[in-house]
Symmetry: D2
């Protein structure tokens, strides 16, 4: 009950770009994949950021992939296509994909602000996008406060107008080559309650220090470091004030989805790479007759298909709703976030399982540091920690969609 | 970390028909869902076929849902839409959906033959389709020989031309109201090796007996019985000769996919129904605070999203390739079958897991024969036995795609 | 890399009785297994209690298996041995094992009361045990109030002393042949807060009705029905007053473990029976070469080994601590309950998984109502609903052991 | 439904030594655990063997832990106790446990030879054991030929009697401090077919080179390197000739079990350490209210219990049968190996799952190279590659026990 074929086509969704811009970007990125893959092992070992790879990507305009054409970019606005690009990059090196995601995601969200935001937001977004599209700006986003010290990154009003930024952000990928930073902070507004804010500042800002402190289990070449801010001055027009701190705002779910959903491509790429490596290593050894190996490989392909279908399904919803002007923003946010979280939960389960089974079918050789599967085993585990959401938060979010939230005292 | 919303929208693919014909069919079927659901429990208990339900469906033309409009049918050719209709029916009663699948699947494959087959095939297909579209014919397919007796169902040349059919088919759903049967048999061709063949014959044929022997663990109202053929005479034009028996023919994979892939909607519907029942029963009890229950429900929704995405992904490939005239038929068959099998393997894992978790969160009440979850627990397990393929055969198929087949002596 | 052997020994723990009394009981029970198995299918189909089987067991003294020899019983006090006996019975018929568990468990807990309880408890226990050991009493325990009506079963002080019992208990297995009932109720004590209580009353009590309302998904021959109490009079000495209602009392965990842990043998037996049936059916078909089938069977045996080891491990702790006079009772209760719950959680996961895989390897034949695997698929699912605890409660208990309990407002 | 307790006792088997010798050895090893744990992180990072730790263990006699007292050792012959010691060491550092296992396992198998072997075997075993017990010999076993070059390690008859050894062994843990090597080789016997053989030779042997080439994904401090043999001379009495090469010999299964089963303790220890680290980190953060975290921790404890029970169950069988003189050696081998493989398969599934869930509940902090959980995530994955058997071979072995082996052409 088996049929012979010559080739084993990759099945499942997330195969072809949907937009012409996406096709163009993918074509150019494809020419860089050999170079990306060639340095992956050594950069992983040393924990070194692949600066030369990114210089090449920048020269070819890839760093402006999601910057609108109006500002000199490729103009890819389709999240599916961004995820597909990241998937292909991740098949060569997951760290590079994670770092690239930082820049492409920033372009997506700024373009989203530029199209849908307030006039202040549009103005700031336009300035930054133009810098990304024409001056080679590399913009890193800092979301998470560093646990060290436990301080909330804060904007204080500066004398004479403007602000000063102080604090420490962690897990800022791509930072080694960043020219600018977009930092989430709590702003102490003079006459009113503290508000969430986004501040953009150049790397040369006085008081800004980029650390070299990344030491991850995996994703070791992603340049994911801490940034320290010590009274960095920021002009008024470079700060976007948002909702009052502490208030729930489900409208932001749409923006969070736009910012983060393409990362699902990264972990899909890791799983696909592991599968292809394992199958390749097995085939080189000759006829595969072990019933257990054949069973695991069949399971692997079925799960990979499922993973790709789920990711594509969530991206399709996100792309359909991101610029939908009809739906209520809050409802739209939920409709985008829920499929994203469903797909993310399954990716974080299936991708590591696929990689682990790849090690099993290849055997002890895969446990060597020189076998790329051992890198993928470490890289793939990062997916569970990406925001939004970690597993416990995803459970709260998804069950909250069904039953309503637990009261404060009842939840994590 | 939880957000409140008013409603809990069903997320994931397989939500809306793609074609206008599909929309029309779904709209009509929707009006029958209350009646279908109303008799589900009692028919399950008694193992009774819902003849009145099907009479209603027939009157409204649903039994010609996949018959081309040229022959008086609804003309739904989109497998996605057929799967969606079956999913909605299965949410009301899985047995009804399984029986209905028999007829809708037959329409799909006959229309496929009518469009792509040999002239003999086209002629036979046209006759049967016309009968289905205008005379209310209900056509059941018999694929599997009954293990009782271990006899291969066989066509022997009859004196004076034509054939006689003898043997016994099992697992023929919908048979209680069948007007005609399409039976796979081995034909002893006078001058040549035995060939596979399809024979169509009316229920009134001399020597044909419809048994009443269904006693399944689940799907108890699907009228899935054995049919006995004792020298039934068949006219020459009612037999389609196919490939030489014993030869592998991967071109038939496309037809098998067309014939069977919509069944994935059935098990998706069972899982969705179980989830909705469980959530409904939980909500009626008041605030759900158990961490384990909330975790299981979040997992359930993520898995349901994945299941729907996978099924939709496989259907999209099948719909895209079914009438593709460019691709080599064999290659096309593989490209359709592989996603189908990947999705089926995951459906057969995820759907029973979802239903079982539904029982867990509802608790002991779900173990009562009067709780519909106990029926779904039995019904959903049928998915693993549907052809093509069972789990062992799917593993052989999928691993054969990767590594090539095992030699005869090496496989199951 | 495979070695040939003649036989396939059952591996894992839970193979041999530990005590001579356990050996004697097992030997006698073994002689009844063919009779038990012979009527299993038909009783399952009809939902009929195997009264003749139990008459046979009673004649041979099995119903007094756990009654101390002082009172005419076999004197089996080792929970491991009781679980082993139930496992062997469940291999023949799970319903019979579940019903027998009711009686053997009652003997164990009464013997436990007789050895460790208050003087009132000892006196009552002695009377009931003597009746079980010498007069053939069959004592059913009613724990769970019937959801119908939502009434708490209650003891009210009767005029002239004693009590009257009113309410309705559900899920009382073995009830069709019960001679006496041990009922948990809330007692309205004249001068004080309500207290938990255990009341023992004969079947002939005025106002007591044994319903015939069992209709389970599985365990259909276990005679698991509701009992209605309408002002049943009970003598003062037949009521044991316990802790104040609503108070937590971890000392009772030891008694709950003694009462319920042997049930783990039942689901172990179901899984073992399914495995043996599946392997037997496969072997009868000839050489098994399917890689998927061989993989599933290897997994099955590994999981069965694990299941048996876990159950044996939990029983070993329970047997060691049940009569330990040194350890603080509360601490002892936790030390017994925690392994029991760990093993139960894994049994409720692994046993259904094993049975489901048995259906998979056997194929469609197993889905027929006449194949015993279809009964085991239904029976095995009962395990998740047995007290203590269901899955959500087990998660609360086990996580509470690690982190302390959630506050009232935080938990289920 | 939660109960408060003060402490969270470790539940499950594998808690206390069974023999007095085991107790003594554990007590001494316990004093070294802080030192072992203190250097674990740095040695992992650098891939450095903890030579000072082993010097300390040697001084206290731990390296003679399984050497019979007759020869100056601790005389621990109970595999359960050896596994328990390795588990405790692995809780501090898995690499150290893996290296220590090499020596303790060698003592066990030599003592087994000394008690059960041929006179030649007894004599050689006695000499090596005496050297281990009184002279501080550290004996490493080389089983697996290095894939580099693909050469079978071979013994050729030397001129003037004796042998010369040539080849290359890989995955020889503990080698940095080995004084002697026990090498499996194929011996070209002058007048007869090639035979399997074991050769013992000192580190100073001419032609012997210990490489420094370990670079594992995990177990990085275990000193697991390649050893090259270039015409090393070996005296006749230092070679044990065994069965004819290529012949199946199930009698050796008993010896393989004795040699390897204690390693299950290592992976149990890794899982236990991960669980304790995760729970500790969670508790330090304050009240744990997340339903998902509490659910995962409950699952973790249940699986850890199961894992410990399974390992203890397999060890109990091995200890009972290792010196059983009654059972047929081949049958005994199977009876020891089957539970070992069942437990190993489950350990290799449950231990990595537990560690991965520990990362999930701790969150992103666990992904840092400085968090010990990231080391455990890598270390625990080694279990799947330990011999006997890897997963595909275990499936062949276990399914072969049930169905008989596949023919040569049918298997892996």
């Amino acid at each position: 009950m088996t049929l012979q074929i010559e080739k084993s086509p990759i099945v499942g969704s997330l195969r072809e770009p949907i937009t012409p811009e996406g096709r163009d970007l993918l074509d150019i990125v494809t020419t860089h994949l050999p170079a990306i893959g060639a340095v992956a092992a050594e950069n992983d070992r040393q924990g070194t950021f692949p600066a030369a790879v990114f210089e090449g990507l920048r020269k070819d305009g890839v760093m402006g992939g999601t910057v609108p054409t109006e500002f000199g970019g490729f103009g890819v606005g389709c999240m599916h296509d961004v995820a597909l690009v990241l998937m292909k990059v991740a098949e060569a090196d997951a760290s590079t994909a994670l770092a690239l995601h930082m820049q492409l995601s920033r372009g997506l969200t700024l373009a989203y602000e530029w199209r849908r935001g307030s006039s202040v937001a549009r103005s700031l977004a336009e300035r930054v996008l133009r810098k990304m599209g024409t001056e080679g700006a590399v913009v890193c986003t800092g979301v998470k406060d560093a646990p060290k010290g436990g301080i909330v990154t804060t904007l204080l009003p500066a004398e004479g107008g403007g602000w000063t930024l102080s604090g420490r952000k962690t897990l800022v990928s791509l930072a080694p080559i960043a020219t600018d930073f977009a930092i989430y902070a709590r702003a102490h507004v003079p006459d009113g309650p503290p508000r969430y804010a986004l501040a953009v500042l150049p790397r040369q800002s006085p008081g800004l220090t980029v650390l070299d402190n990344w030491d991850g289990l995996g994703m070791r070449a992603s340049g994911t470091v801490d940034i320290v801010f010590d009274n960095c001055p920021i002009a008024p027009e470079d700060v976007l004030l948002r909702e009052v701190a502490g208030e729930r705002n489900i409208a932001i779910l749409a923006g969070q989805t736009v910012s983060s959903i393409a990362m699902l491509g990264i972990y899909t790429g890791v799983a696909q790479a592991a599968r292809d490596l394992a199958v390749g290593q097995l085939k080189r050894r000759g006829k595969v007759t072990s019933g257990a190996v054949r069973t695991l490989v069949a399971e692997m392909d079925a799960r990979l298909f499922t993973l790709r279908s789920s990711v594509a399904g969530a991206l399709a919803v996100a792309d359909a709703l991101a610029y939908d002007e009809v739906t209520d923003p809050a409802e739209r946010g939920l409709q985008m976030m829920t499929p994203f979280q469903c797909a993310k939960l399954m990716v974080n389960r299936l991708a590591p399982a696929i990689v682990s089974d790849c090690l099993t079918v290849v055997g002890g050789a895969s446990y060597s540091g020189s076998n790329p599967l051992s890198r993928l085993y470490r890289d793939v585990r990062a997916g569970g920690f990406m925001q939004p959401y970690t597993y416990p938060d995803a459970v709260d979010y998804l069950s909250g969609q069904v039953f309503g939230p637990l009261d404060e005292g009842q939840q994590g």
